[in-house]
């Protein structure tokens, strides 16, 4: 299959116009010995054959719609209303690029502006940017903002062990070149508050945390504020459909993973990181910002703004290198939130909440299983099992059930603990079946 339009005749006309005899000649300046390698790739194939291959590969997977899925841990199986993908398939949206030329990009610009607005209101903050790669990198970008806010004078980031382990990994990857300490997540018992001091740039916490717990962050916010550190909350956006926005705990930055808002699981990506903060930090935000303005005809319109923050202007002095971000995913989130709306998001949140509690209670009553969470939780909870989680999950799979996350993999103290997520897609019947199989495996 080729998408190259040239005919033989056109090719030779063009070569003549250029003044060369062959295509090879165009590469005369390239090291001759290495030119035109013989690549070990498959032969070209027709679309029909390619699609068959892909179909077969996809069928070699067990997907979550073929099973009951109780796995979350940072990626959630939610229902995506049909209209969302119909919007994404608009050719003018997905085949455009970054709206450098606003006169012919108002569609993208207004959609991003709306995404920013939706995130701003959802998080309760004052301003949101056009997106980051995912929840993990938005946390890293928050840390960088805090470091810049403190002009590099503070060299400690305090993180809660209740933040998604992979987010903490990414944070450490991003900051490995800086001279600073990332502390607080040494063990679950650990109280981060003891780390907060005058050298602390940012305190980061997850809400609900990785184990599903809904903590009141009021006190932590005050500690951070007192120490002059920024409070960053990693929030689950569906939970914000019912829970107090982090702004109410005095959060300075709210970041998170937007995947639950209309983006398919897709084996982990593309997703979208959202990033909201206070107006006072707007000039330190990484990434694109779209602002309202007017055009030469007096019409309201939108442009990318405050670009001097960004790499293409500030180059080596920019605080982030982000360029391409998650435009189309921002559109998905905007379409999702517009479609489900105020009432719908609340409904999803509550469905998740009640179903998770129904499941938790039922499992807690089984012999051999015990609910680990002591605090209120949202749609995810931890169960102490009396066997290795991997073994239980294997049996569950035989029943077409995708079991929860094996916490022992990353939290040694939580061996034989399973993190279970429940969403609106889990009917009562599925939950009951799940509980029954767990019971048999106790």
């Amino acid at each position: 299959m080729t998408y190259i339009p040239h005919t033989e005749a056109e090719r030779s006309q063009m070569l003549t116009a250029i003044g060369v005899k062959s295509l090879d000649e165009l590469y005369a300046g390239l090291p001759a010995a290495m030119r035109f390698p013989d690549l070990a790739l498959p032969e070209p194939a027709s679309e029909m054959e390619v699609m068959e291959d892909l179909q077969l590969l996809s069928e070699a997977n067990l997907h979550v719609r073929q099973a009951s899925c109780f796995l979350g841990a940072g990626a959630y199986n939610h229902y995506v209303p049909s209209v969302v993908d119909h919007v994404l398939l608009r050719n003018e949206f997905y085949t455009a690029y970054t709206p450098y030329q606003p006169e012919v990009s108002q569609g993208t610009l207004q959609a991003i502006f709306e995404f920013q607005s939706l995130i701003t209101f959802l998080t309760g903050m004052e301003v949101a940017n056009a997106s980051h790669y995912d929840g993990a990198t938005s946390l890293a970008e928050a840390a960088i903002l805090s470091l810049n806010h403190h002009r590099g004078k503070r060299t400690k980031i305090v993180v809660s062990p209740g933040i998604h382990p992979q987010y903490r990994e990414v944070l450490r990857t991003y900051l490995q070149g800086q001279q600073l300490a990332i502390v607080g997540d040494e063990s679950l018992k650990h109280d981060q508050v003891i780390h907060i001091d005058e050298n602390t740039s940012m305190v980061a916490v997850q809400y609900p945390d990785f184990f599903g717990n809904i903590h009141d962050l009021e006190a932590l916010g005050q500690e951070a504020r007192q120490a002059g550190a920024l409070l960053c909350v990693v929030a689950n956006p569906i939970a914000l459909g019912m829970l107090k926005p982090p702004s109410e705990f005095g959060a300075d930055i709210v970041v998170g993973e937007g995947q639950p808002l209309g983006i398919p699981l897709s084996f982990g990506g593309p997703y979208i990181g959202f990033f909201a903060t206070r107006d006072e930090y707007v000039r330190k935000i990484a990434g694109r910002l779209v602002g309202e303005t007017v055009d030469s005809r007096g019409q309201r319109g939108y442009v990318m703004t405050l670009t001097p923050r960004e790499q293409h202007i500030r180059r080596g002095r920019a605080t982030s290198n982000i360029c391409t971000n998650q435009g189309l995913m921002a559109l998905a989130v905007a379409a999702y939130l517009s479609t489900v709306g105020r009432a719908g998001l609340k409904q999803v949140a509550e469905l998740c909440y009640h179903k998770a509690h129904y499941a938790a209670q039922a499992i807690d009553q089984l012999d051999g299983y015990q609910l680990w969470n002591r605090d209120p939780f949202f749609h995810e909870f931890v169960v102490r099992c009396s066997r290795p989680v991997a073994e239980i999950n294997e049996v569950l799979l035989d029943h077409d059930i995708i079991g929860g996350y094996d916490l022992g993999q990353v939290y040694p103290e939580l061996a034989e603990h399973m993190l279970i997520a429940v969403t609106e897609l889990n009917y009562k019947e599925e939950i009951d079946d799940f509980v029954e199989v767990l019971n048999e495996q106790a």
Partner: protein
């Protein structure tokens, strides 16, 4: 009678019935009252209102599927529709990143194969697919260089050499990685200035970031020498692969001596640009750097045989720099790029580069007499001209760009690279036909003439688009970054 599209909050009506989810089928649990929010300022629209809104918005965009889009450095080639279908197959779209990999062998086989194909195309020992975009590929690559030196106890290597023609992400990446940028000038032919490079090559060099072809669309004429110089002083060479489209099947960066390189699946491998992402920026590395790749990557954990395919697993490279993203990268983009490479196949790779280079040189040949070409030699997949006119000093590159919109074309990249005055960076890509290029040539020539005859036609352009020029100064001054909901919804249901 000008029908501006209201924003989503303006379109909202309190109490509007919208999408409905199933009724609750379990008993109510007690809610954590203290933790509940009492306001949720989201809009309320019917599905028709949502659809109409976004359909109307979409029509305000130019995209590849509506117009020629020669945005230099971005490789705006056709995005095959079959790629979109493939990524949406339920067996891919509905897989959870933390499922047992034994039931996701389809995903893993695809990723493994893509790693292999990209490594083969680039001439590298291995590829990691995790980075989310070009810039994150750069960060990954530079952190790998850094880790490599650190591992060898080479602690004072803090200098990254970056040509002045480089994309802004290159120096920004360097800084983010905790290293120091040293800018290298370009010579008269658009190459890295060898003397300047030689002068910087010492034992504090961590590496060089080289874009080849560079952002002028020119192949670095002394590339082997440049790489050798850096290697000789103990540095490594990072390749910014944004311009790989020119090299497919033509020359492999790995063969040239690059140690690390990021690929842009959203440029070279046809995954859609999505109005600004998602992209995907896999990184290829030489043998020596394999263990530093971010992870996990896909590897065979049990070999296959005649009857059984191998068992694939996710493994963390031994000395990994760590994760750069949660999970495994932009899998949806991996599916599209896989589909693309599988379609074109072995022989197709070079055909892509050939026609990208052919199209660029054809345009260059046609425009050379009308526009000043600052570095005029055979180009690769793109080239840069100056959007200024001696006889029309008040006309700028931006004016040419805006006027092109009236011809139905998306403008080229403006004001980049910075080393060219009034730069117009033109990248036609291989999927455009001669007829389209001819129409673009006609437009460019006519605009050049118009610049002299009627400069105001350019300066006030565009005229035929739905929007005229936008006031960027006002945007930055007033800084409205969020809708003001007409009425802050206070009803809480």
């Amino acid at each position: 009678m000008n029908r501006l599209e209201p924003n989503i909050y303006e379109l909202s009506t309190p109490g509007r019935p919208s999408h409905r989810f199933p009724d609750l089928d379990v008993p109510l649990a007690e809610l954590p009252d203290k933790m509940l929010r009492d306001q949720l300022e989201l809009p309320e629209l019917s599905e028709l209102e949502v659809t109409r809104h976004f359909v109307r918005l979409s029509q305000l965009n130019f995209g590849i599927d509506t117009a020629f889009y020669p945005l230099g450095s971005c490789t705006m080639k056709y995005n095959p529709k079959v790629n979109e279908d493939a990524a949406r197959l339920p067996g891919f779209a509905h897989t959870h990143p933390l499922q047992d990999t034994r039931v996701l062998q389809g995903n893993l086989a695809l990723m493994y194969t893509l790693q292999e194909w990209l490594a083969e195309i680039g001439g590298f020992a291995g590829v990691g697919l995790q980075p989310a975009a070009g810039a994150q590929g750069e960060l990954t690559g530079i952190l790998i260089l850094r880790a490599y030196h650190k591992d060898r106890g080479d602690k004072h290597r803090k200098k990254i050499l970056v040509p002045d023609s480089a994309h802004g992400t290159n120096p920004a990446t360097t800084t983010m990685s905790g290293l120091r940028v040293v800018e290298l000038p370009s010579d008269k032919r658009g190459n890295v200035d060898l003397d300047a490079l030689r002068a910087e090559c010492d034992d504090t060099v961590a590496g060089l970031m080289l874009t080849n072809p560079n952002t002028l669309g020119l192949f670095e004429e002394h590339v082997e020498e440049v790489i050798a110089m850096v290697h000789d002083c103990g540095g490594l060479v990072y390749g910014d692969g944004a311009n790989m489209n020119a090299l497919l099947g033509v020359i492999r960066p790995g063969d040239l001596g690059f140690d690390v390189l990021h690929y842009n699946l959203h440029k070279t491998f046809s995954t859609p640009h999505g109005g600004g992402g998602p992209g995907s920026g896999p990184v290829g590395v030489s043998e020596a750097l394999l263990d530093y790749l971010p992870g996990p990557i896909v590897d065979t954990v049990e070999p296959g045989d005649d009857d059984l395919p191998p068992l694939y697993g996710l493994v963390m490279p031994k000395k990994t720099i760590g994760r750069v993203k949660a999970f495994h990268g932009h899998f949806g983009m991996h599916v599209r790029a896989f589909t693309y490479i599988r379609s074109y196949g072995k022989s197709g790779m070079r055909e892509i580069a050939d026609h990208a280079v052919l199209n660029a040189n054809y345009l260059l040949a046609a425009l050379r007499d009308t526009y000043h070409v600052p570095f005029d030699r055979t180009c690769m997949h793109e080239f840069v001209v100056e959007g200024r006119f001696e006889k029309a000093p008040g006309v700028h590159a931006l004016d040419v760009s805006k006027r092109l919109m009236d011809w139905g074309f998306h403008p080229p990249t403006n004001y980049f690279p910075l080393i060219v005055r009034e730069a117009l960076m033109i990248e036609p890509t291989e999927t455009e036909s001669k007829a389209t290029l001819d129409a673009f040539i006609e437009a460019m020539k006519s605009i050049a003439q118009e610049a002299e005859d009627h400069p105001e036609q350019l300066q006030t352009a565009p005229h035929t688009t739905a929007f005229g020029r936008l006031d960027e100064v006002q945007a930055a001054k007033e800084l409205v970054l969020c809708c003001r909901p007409a009425e802050l919804a206070t009803l809480e249901n």
